[in-house]
């Protein structure tokens, strides 16, 4: 065939009783050997997509081929190719790290020496060799996360799905997971990564699909995507906690120098042609209306700006 | 106010859990209904229509007489006799649990008994009672009836032969005359009762006679108490759930004293328990017309048993390390208490050592109290059990508070 490992054809999911399509005629192909990120806010349909690609959820319409195996008709073969890393840690607390790896290996039909060698190799890779025999219940959250990833790799899948693997994790474990993803990719593994952290998508991905309301609204390499927003830069204003970022965003939207303004938590994110030029106008407008800006970031064109540009909304952190 | 806040949250979370509601309210209610169905309102075991298979291989009068006994009007309610052709068939009925016993009357029964004449034969007529070991009560009743019948035959035989032997030996009555007289002599003999059995029935536990015992009035609260223990054990578990969720440390971090948190929790569990008992009481009254007894004493017992049960629950919660452990421990203790204190039978029918040993459980004291009420007792009869429950609450409560303090002292500092 071609060099794509996943071919998604008009994949659609409607949950019973819901008027909206959770995934809306998604067509996409993921190339062998790339890191592909699905970026989007919570509820965009990322997890539903991953679940369908994992053969866990039957599509309402459409199909996807994993290395040529349909997720609807040939799911057993498709599942052998996939390694999954669920959003929440899905492991047995009462087993040791090594026992968990061995158990899941057997579930993928592995056994004996190859399995045990592979388990040790993964323990080494996720840095848990010295804790291999300890029960999971004694592990920190970050260690469990690392093992959660490790278990997804036990059967040397051709492609691994990682569904927001870094949510609620300490910086050190996050770093090690991101490094592992890159490392794996270097060894030829394809990675499908979902996240709502823009930085992760930027750091890891060869290509990014931006998802919103069940649709891919933009697709391409990071460079291609940022090109969409042209020379735009992002200005990020940090407000004190007592002030309403929403009000300020509405206010700043009126300024000529501002293309888009959107509020997230106590921040206002603004896209503009030239950040340093727009800054004085923004600051004075804020000051006149009684807003106190605590600090300001100027960012190069990035995916955040793309999302803001496409949806008029900010990606949540 | 903070205490009440904690307590209110406790009640709210309890009554929002659907599975908990099943154990708290639906199960005891349903079980009471079924128990009453199974044992009737009186609670005394009434055996009726015991199926018995009879094989009469004897053509004579004695065999028929035994059949007549089983088919008599006096036993019509108790027994459901059926005549079967062969012993094999009859035993098969017992083996298949279709009969409680098979009575097999041998062919030679009548012929072997000769009231007159010398006891010439060494032969033996054996009536077999083939009993169903799965229905021991019923089977033994049938065996008893057969024994009595055989006893009568033996009595006649004994008189007849003794008279015959002795009188013919003495030679004072001519044999042909004796032949005529012997029957009336035997009849006179067997109707002569020398030992009379003065049989009395005694209610062991209380002075009142058993007919005063209101089974339904006892079974209703008994089922409620059984499941009260389950729901309270659940309450104790919540302490650990909160610990896992982190809400406990959040509470301890708030400017609230640990003892107040514990009191609030206890108050919540106790109120939820009392509420559970009251709902069941009212529901059984309205829907099943089962009364638990006069309101005053019932309320006293409800409050006391809720307190004592809660103390157990909290104790389990403060002693167990994990939620699963608390769950297992709570279930185990609830089960042991239920079985040992006799939630399924009137307590007075349990062996004495079990009655005493089970006083460690709230079930036992409360059941004692409800048993008194079911026998027509009043407030003065439930006073001791109520005090017993309160003392239990104090002792267990103190232990629980100590363990709670020790465990969470660091959190406060």
């Amino acid at each position: 065939m071609n060099d794509s490992i996943i071919d998604i054809q008009s994949l659609t999911k409607r949950y019973p009783g819901s008027a909206m399509l959770a995934v809306d005629h998604l067509t996409l192909s993921i190339k062998r050997g790339e890191i592909f990120s699905l970026l989007g806010p919570n509820g965009a349909g990322k997890t539903t997509t991953i679940s369908m690609l994992s053969c866990l959820l039957t599509p309402t319409e459409g199909d996807a081929l994993i290395s040529g195996h349909s997720v609807t008709n040939d799911s057993l073969a498709a599942r052998r190719i996939i390694g999954i890393v669920p959003q929440e840690v899905a492991l047995y607390d009462d087993l040791s790290a090594r026992e968990n790896l061995l158990f899941w290996g057997r579930m993928y039909g592995m056994q004996g020496k190859p399995l045990s060698t592979k388990a040790d190799e993964i323990l080494e890779r996720i840095g848990l060799t010295d804790r291999a025999k300890d029960r999971l219940s004694t592990f920190s959250g970050g260690m469990k996360r690392r093992l959660n990833v490790g278990v997804g790799l036990i059967h040397s899948p051709e492609i691994v799905y990682m569904d927001e693997p870094t949510v609620g994790i300490d910086p050190q474990s996050r770093r090690s997971i991101l490094d592992m993803v890159k490392d794996l990719n270097q060894q030829g593994m394809t990675v499908l990564y979902t996240t709502h952290y823009m930085e992760e998508a930027q750091e890891l991905s060869d290509r990014v699909g931006i998802m919103d309301h069940g649709k891919i609204i933009a697709l391409g390499t990071q460079a291609e995507l940022t090109e969409m927003v042209g020379e735009r830069e992002v200005l990020r204003l940090y407000l004190s906690e007592i002030q309403s970022a929403e009000n300020l965003a509405t206010l700043l939207q009126e300024l000529d120098v501002v293309f888009d303004a959107s509020a997230v938590d106590h921040q206002v994110i603004i896209s503009t042609a030239d950040a340093s030029e727009a800054l004085p106008a923004v600051m004075s407008a804020a000051a006149v209306n009684g807003f106190t800006i605590r600090s300001v970031d100027i960012q190069e064109p990035n995916l955040e700006a793309v999302f803001l540009h496409l949806t008029g909304r900010a990606l949540r952190d | 106010m903070k205490i009440l806040n904690v307590a209110w949250k406790e009640i709210l979370t309890t009554y929002r859990d659907r599975a908990a509601l099943i154990t708290m309210l639906v199960a005891p209610f349903a079980l009471t209904l079924v128990m009453l169905f199974a044992f009737g309102n009186s609670g005394t075991v009434v055996l009726e229509n015991i199926p018995v298979a009879i094989v009469n291989q004897d053509g004579g009068e004695l065999g028929q007489a035994l059949v007549d006994v089983f088919e008599s009007d006096e036993l019509a309610d108790l027994l459901e006799p059926s005549l079967v052709g062969t012993a094999t068939e009859a035993k098969a009925l017992v083996d298949e649990d279709k009969a409680a016993a098979a009575v097999i009357i041998p062919a030679e029964l009548t012929s072997i008994i000769t009231t007159g004449g010398p006891p010439a034969t060494d032969a033996l007529a054996t009536i077999e009672v083939y009993q169903n070991p799965g229905r021991t009560l019923s089977a033994q009743i049938i065996a008893g009836i057969t024994d009595q019948f055989a006893g009568n035959i033996v009595a006649g035989y004994t008189s007849g032969h003794l008279l015959w032997e002795t009188l013919t030996a003495s030679g004072s009555i001519p044999t042909d005359e004796l032949q005529i007289q012997i029957e009336s002599l035997v009849n006179a003999s067997i109707s002569n009762t020398i030992i009379t059995v003065n049989a009395t029935e005694q209610n062991i536990s209380q002075a009142q006679s058993s007919s005063d015992f209101n089974w339904a009035q006892y079974m209703g609260p008994s089922m409620a108490i059984l499941f009260l223990m389950f729901s309270v054990a659940r309450g104790g578990r919540i302490l650990l759930v909160e610990q896992d969720q982190g809400t406990l440390s959040r509470m301890l971090a708030s400017p609230t004293r640990p003892s107040h948190i514990l009191i609030g929790k206890v108050l919540g569990i106790v109120s939820a328990s009392i509420l559970q008992m009251l709902i069941l009481m009212v529901a059984m009254r309205l829907l099943m017309n089962v009364s638990w007894g006069p309101f005053g004493p019932v309320l006293a017992i409800i409050v006391a048993v809720s307190l004592a049960a809660t103390a157990w629950g909290i104790l389990i919660g403060t002693r167990a390390r994990t939620v699963a452990q608390a769950g297992n421990l709570g279930t185990a203790i609830s089960l042991i208490f239920a079985a040992a204190s006799g939630n399924f039978y009137p307590r007075s029918t349990l062996p004495e050592f079990l009655q005493k040993a089970s006083l460690i459980s709230p079930n036992a004291w409360a059941l004692d109290a409800f048993e008194s009420l079911a026998q027509g007792g009043g407030m003065q009869d439930v006073l001791i059990p109520v005090i017993g429950l309160l003392v239990m609450t104090l002792i267990l409560g103190s232990i629980a508070v100590l363990s709670f303090r020790r465990r969470y002292a660091s959190a406060q500092a």
Binding site: - | A30, D97, R135, A143, L163, F213, R237
Partner: protein
């Protein structure tokens, strides 16, 4: 298949990794079988070898200590239903009130003397109200007394006639004594006896209480273990491991089979241990047909595990599943006849509870254990239980999902 076994083994390990689960698997069932067996069988065992004598003990208070009172006790001893145990009056009352016996008999002083002088005499029999065995034991005492009565009145009638005919030179007392001995001899050789038998050849050796409680407790506790499959399903689901399993190259059927197999293994091991304890320690005869016992255990276990799956797919959390499991296993076991003999319930009730698998299991177990049935005798029970298993399984397989 290898995957199913790995899954089953994993479930067993997870269950056993919690030490407190051993309490449910072994300690509680063994303790309960023992305690309830004692409670049902009567706690009062005056002699160490009494456990082999399954006749109900009846206390006899012999205040007369005469030849005739001894004869009465000897007659009671020949009963197939009761056995006499001699005690003084105050001990007798204590034991009776402690529910050690269902009845006691008092032979008053002067009993023998008044019989010898031809006076009617009175014997006190006290039975416990509401006691299950009061009727039977009372009946048996009456039967023994009747037997003695027959001997006495035969002797007395004979003596009276001899005296009235002046046929003997002996004094009345001596003549009566002679005739009593003669009457006893005649009665002992009476050509009519009643033989109490039962299905299994070893009936008389069954410890009555334990034979009833052993299968009942087995059904109750094994049910708790087997319904535990509900907790497995619910916790695999909440932990997210079910999601992961379903994403692995396994069919739903394989996952369910693994869960069932793991539970089944635990339950069957428990059954073997409980049967072993019952037969080795408590002396319960589990019948002669091991194949029937095995078949029945297996079909009961399957039905119970499948019911557990059903509870598991219907409950939201593991704690909820655990709660439902305990409640349901206790209730269905009790209603199905595991806690009290079915014979004491009304016909309508016995018919109604046929909708419970436990009823059929208990029926099957008593068929095998008490009535000595073989495979052909429990075929219906086995088929019904398997039917339950299929129905529960089909329903839960349909509802089985990772969220």
């Amino acid at each position: 298949m290898r995957k199913i076994l790995a899954l089953a083994w994993n479930n067993i390990r997870l269950e056993l990794s919690d030490r407190s689960s051993l309490v449910f698997l072994l300690i509680l069932p063994l303790a309960f079988t023992y305690i309830i067996g004692i409670a049902m069988g009567g706690a009062y065992e005056p002699e160490s070898n009494a456990s082999t004598d399954t006749r109900h003990p009846v206390i006899v208070v012999d205040q007369d200590a005469s030849a005739l009172s001894a004869q009465l006790i000897a007659v009671i001893e020949t009963s197939q239903i009761i056995r006499p145990v001699e005690q003084n009056l105050s001990d007798a009352i204590d034991i009776f009130k402690g529910q050690g016996v269902s009845a006691y008999v008092v032979i008053p002083a002067g009993f023998g003397a008044s019989i010898t002088t031809g006076q009617p005499t009175l014997l006190d029999l006290v039975t416990a109200a509401g006691d299950n065995y009061a009727l039977t034991t009372g009946q048996a005492v009456q039967a023994a007394v009747a037997e003695l009565n027959a001997i006495l009145s035969a002797a007395k009638t004979t003596t009276d006639i001899l005296v009235s005919l002046n046929a003997s030179s002996l004094p009345y007392d001596q003549l009566l004594q002679e005739n009593l001995q003669a009457a006893s001899a005649v009665a002992a050789e009476a050509p009519v006896t009643v033989l109490h038998t039962g299905p299994s050849a070893t009936t008389s050796e069954i410890a009555v209480g334990f034979a009833q409680t052993s299968p009942g407790q087995l059904v109750t506790w094994v049910l708790i273990t087997l319904l535990g499959s509900s907790v497995v399903i619910a916790s695999e689901r909440t932990k997210g491991t079910l999601y992961r399993l379903m994403a692995a190259p396994l069919s739903k059927g394989q996952i369910l089979a693994g869960i069932i197999l793991g539970r089944l293994a635990l339950g069957l091991v428990q059954i073997i241990i409980l049967i072993g304890f019952g037969s080795l320690v408590l002396g319960v005869d589990w019948g002669s047909s091991y194949s029937a016992l095995a078949l029945l255990s297996l079909s009961f276990a399957l039905a119970a595990v499948a019911l557990g799956l059903l509870i598991g797919v219907l409950s939201k959390t593991a704690a909820q599943a655990r709660e439902l499991t305990t409640a349901i296993s206790m209730i269905t076991a009790a209603l199905g006849g595991a806690w009290w003999p079915m014979e004491i319930t009304p016909q309508l009730y016995q018919t109604a509870v046929k909708i419970l698998p436990t009823t059929w299991a208990m029926q099957g177990f008593t068929d095998v254990i008490l009535r000595g049935q073989d495979v052909s005798g429990i075929l219906i029970e086995t088929l019904v239980l398997l039917g339950f298993a299929v129905a529960f399984f089909a329903f839960s397989a349909k509802k089985f999902d990772y969220e």
